[in-house]
């Protein structure tokens, strides 16, 4: 699922899109509601939502005349997968130093 994670990474690189994701943590919202609460125009919110949806981070559904957007739980799971990779990076870096001649072992008594 590495490619999926990369899509999300790219989607979240934009501060406006991070703000939208944060706003959706409170619950499903319509485009107009998001635009009212954020310093982003309605067309821009729509565009950002399109990117977030393509990345699997948000899902939408029609409700009456409105379209409601919510965070996509599977997308969140992919984010967790990314943190998973962060720990892999960290442990590898740790192992490199632990085994490095630059950090010699002290003689054990």
């Amino acid at each position: 699922m590495a490619a999926y994670g990369s899509d999300q990474l790219a989607a979240l690189a934009d501060p406006s899109r991070r703000a939208i994701v944060e706003a959706l943590r409170a619950g499903p919202r319509a485009v107009g509601e998001l635009a009212a609460d954020l310093p982003i125009s309605r067309p821009a919110v729509s565009q950002h939502l399109k990117v977030l949806k393509a990345a699997g981070l948000v899902a939408d559904r029609a409700e009456g005349t409105k379209r409601l957007y919510r965070l996509e739980p599977d997308g969140i799971a992919a984010v967790r997968a990314y943190l998973d990779r962060m720990w892999s990076d960290a442990l590898k870096s740790f192992a490199d130093l632990a085994e490095s001649p630059e950090s010699p072992e002290e003689e054990q008594p």
């Binding site: 991070r18 499903p28 739980p73 599977d74 990314y82 943190l83 720990w87 950090s103």
Partner: protein, 155 residues
Amino acid sequence: MTLEPIRKTITVACSREHAFKTYTEAFDSWWPREHHIGQGDLAEAVLEPKPGGRWYERTTDGSECDWGEVLVWEPPARVVLTWRIDGDWKVDPDPAHASEIEVRFVEEGPRSTRVELEHRAFERHGETAAKVHDGVSGDGGHGGLLKLFAEKAVA
């Protein structure tokens, strides 16, 4: 959706004592520089090697941000850290809202140590896992993970 703990294992060619000291006392020397919270570049990542010790970062602008604290200190076998960064990517001082990272050091030989890492209890950061599953009420601590994710993106 239950949020399974993250589990990692790596075997290093050194004694358990050395592995433990490297992980804790030399934390700054190996922590990947791109993983941090503050706006500036990471100047120092510190894990105070004692029970109740702070675990924090200092960025080049001099500001510090707590990641958590040392919950369990059992050299050279085990260290448990809390992760206090909440869904808003701020420090939540309530220990009940912190997830945990346990690192175990298991001796496999005089020069071989298995290091087992587990990052667990993500649900403590806020909303319950059930709510996450419903997709009704946000993502609690996962907002923090999103930010972490974003940090990497802009790094």
